[in-house]
């Protein structure tokens, strides 16, 4: 994973609440056996017409969308299926952060393992962002702060371990593997065996 320290980008806004991972990555694309090449599939049912032509009004089809690294979405983004294909696709499209008032747990976990930062903010700031699509925002991963062009700057919650992994570009598996002797010990001494 690449190191992620700083994100400076305009935003794309999808204001709907409860956007589930079936919308982010429809089930028919789950036949993929790799992590790559999923950018074309994200929001496919909202993004293309029945003939597969891009719908010009949809936010991801606007000129310049491909350069946006920050998605602003309605409350409770990423609910539903655990499919990691959702963050894989978002990252493949170019997103490095999603901003909302709440994220589903599994989506949040999956995102942090793929260099996609879930940024949880209060309703007022969220409303401002929803009303200002294309705003230039700045996300400092080391300080866990989000800065808006209106001068507002605020902290967002970011687990210290996940933050460390993002900043250093570390895969969490390495940390787990370093626990091997403790894992073996646990297996030997536990009072019952599965």
């Amino acid at each position: 994973m690449e190191k992620l320290t700083h994100i400076h980008s305009t935003t794309i806004v999808l204001p709907q609440t409860d956007i589930d991972t079936d919308q982010i990555m429809p089930g028919r694309f789950l036949t993929s056996t790799t992590r790559e090449g999923l950018s074309e599939a994200i929001f496919a049912d909202w993004r293309y017409d029945v003939d597969g032509q891009p719908l010009p009004d949809f936010a991801l089809n606007q000129p310049g969308a491909a350069d946006c690294q920050v998605l602003v979405a309605g409350n409770n983004f990423g609910c539903g299926s655990s499919r990691e294909h959702a963050p894989w696709g978002l990252v493949d499209f170019g997103f490095r952060a999603v901003i909302s008032t709440r994220f589903a747990d599994i989506f949040s976990n999956n995102s942090l393992k793929n260099g996609l930062v879930p940024v949880v903010i209060n309703e007022d700031t969220h409303n401002w962002l929803l009303e200002h699509p294309g705003a230039m925002v700045d996300i400092d991963v080391a300080a866990a702060t989000l800065s808006l062009p209106n001068g507002v700057s605020l902290n967002f919650p970011l687990d210290g371990f996940a933050q460390h992994c993002l900043l250093e570009g570390l895969d969490q598996l390495g940390y787990l593997q370093s626990k091997e002797s403790e894992i073996s010990h646990f297996e030997q001494v536990r009072p019952w065996k599965p």
């Binding site: 204001p15 969490q172 019952w192």
Partner: protein
Amino acid sequence: MSGKSLFEKVWEDHLVSAETPANPAVLYIDLHLTHEVTTPQAFTLLREQGMPVRRPDLTLATLDHSTPTVPVTGLKDLDVLSEPAQAAQIRQMVQNCEDFGIELHGFGSDQRGIVHVIGPEIGATQPGKTIVCGDSHSSTHGAFGALAFGIGSTEVGHVLATQCLLQRKPKSMAINFNGQLPAGVTAKDIILATIGEIGVDGGTGHVIEYRGNVISGLSMEERMTICNMTIEAGARAGMMAPDDTTVEFLAGRPQAPGGADWEPAVERWLSLPSDDDATFDREIDIDVANLVPMVTFGTNPGMVVPITASVPDSNGDLSFRKALDYMGLEPGQSMQQTSVDVVFVGSCTNSRLPDLRAAARVLKGNKIADSVRMLVVPGSEIIKQQAEAEGLHEIFLAAGAEWREAGCSMCLGMNGDNLLPGQLCVSTSNRNFEGRQGIGGRTVLASPETAAASAINGRITDPRTLL
């Protein structure tokens, strides 16, 4: 100090190392369920790094999500029965299991089925275990007093390689169900009403323990239906206290402890329920005495009403309005006036033998409406055999329904069992998201009883009017 909850007991029992402000806990996993859709990338990672699967003996594998629901005798059949991408994914799973020494409950095994159906069925799901799967409906297994939750494919790789996960301890929530459940109201109606009450993000960050006299009176299958949909309220996991019903269900199952191991296991299981003075971060009481059958009207499981009600008003909420437009429903329209094109009985929520019996009881002696297509898809090969031994399939076929092979099928429409654009389906599955059952398809979630009654009338129907 207050006592411990069921969740805390299971959590603490699996800590390889506890969490600190800097590092998450290392949690040991007792059972890893795997299927073809969310594992390929994880196996690729192991291969690239030259790592073995640490505990193939604690890994259970099956084929369910993209498998055809017409008879398959071997992999060769997939050339004609499946799309190339689905067939390739299934073949890759077979190969991965072979290469990494994992027993696969694949085609030809009478233990194949939906991953959350076969775990309990073969007795691999047990109280006090930690259970994960690259699948959000892992919450199903919490019905046994296991701590069970869904993970992503990267974490699948972590468990394959180390049998452990990095986790922060979730918060806890108790939902107490009390009162007398009225006749004709099912476990599915209880959980749909609960999600309607707390919302699709009402459980985020929490492990829910379902408690109260209603839960202790339910069968294991009913308990699984409730725990299954925990994720639809956004919660990390759902759990229920193991009791005599749990023990009875597990006795004699192939992977349940046997012989001299049985008594100590039962003793341990029955020590797991929350202590009387255990506390929870949140507590909610739900009285079931006035519940009626529930149906969804929108595009998430929290958009749910009593079947006797009308479609609610959007009150200017744009997401809500968009959902109604997608469903082709108008505020004020009576739910029971809604016509139905397809009925699906199946999925890890409602595809077990009692679910099929319930649907058959409603259908017996009736025909489904001419305009309706109905699919009945058992959750596992074993359930299929049991249902056929009871003659349930004959009731379904005589009514005009299709009787299929086990699998996820139209729950997520990955295998060719799809809705067509605009079709409305009363489905016993767990998700009514846009396009979940096929592009442009509309899903109304309901119990097997409601699904069967709706198939007969060709419109959404309160099953209590037919029973």
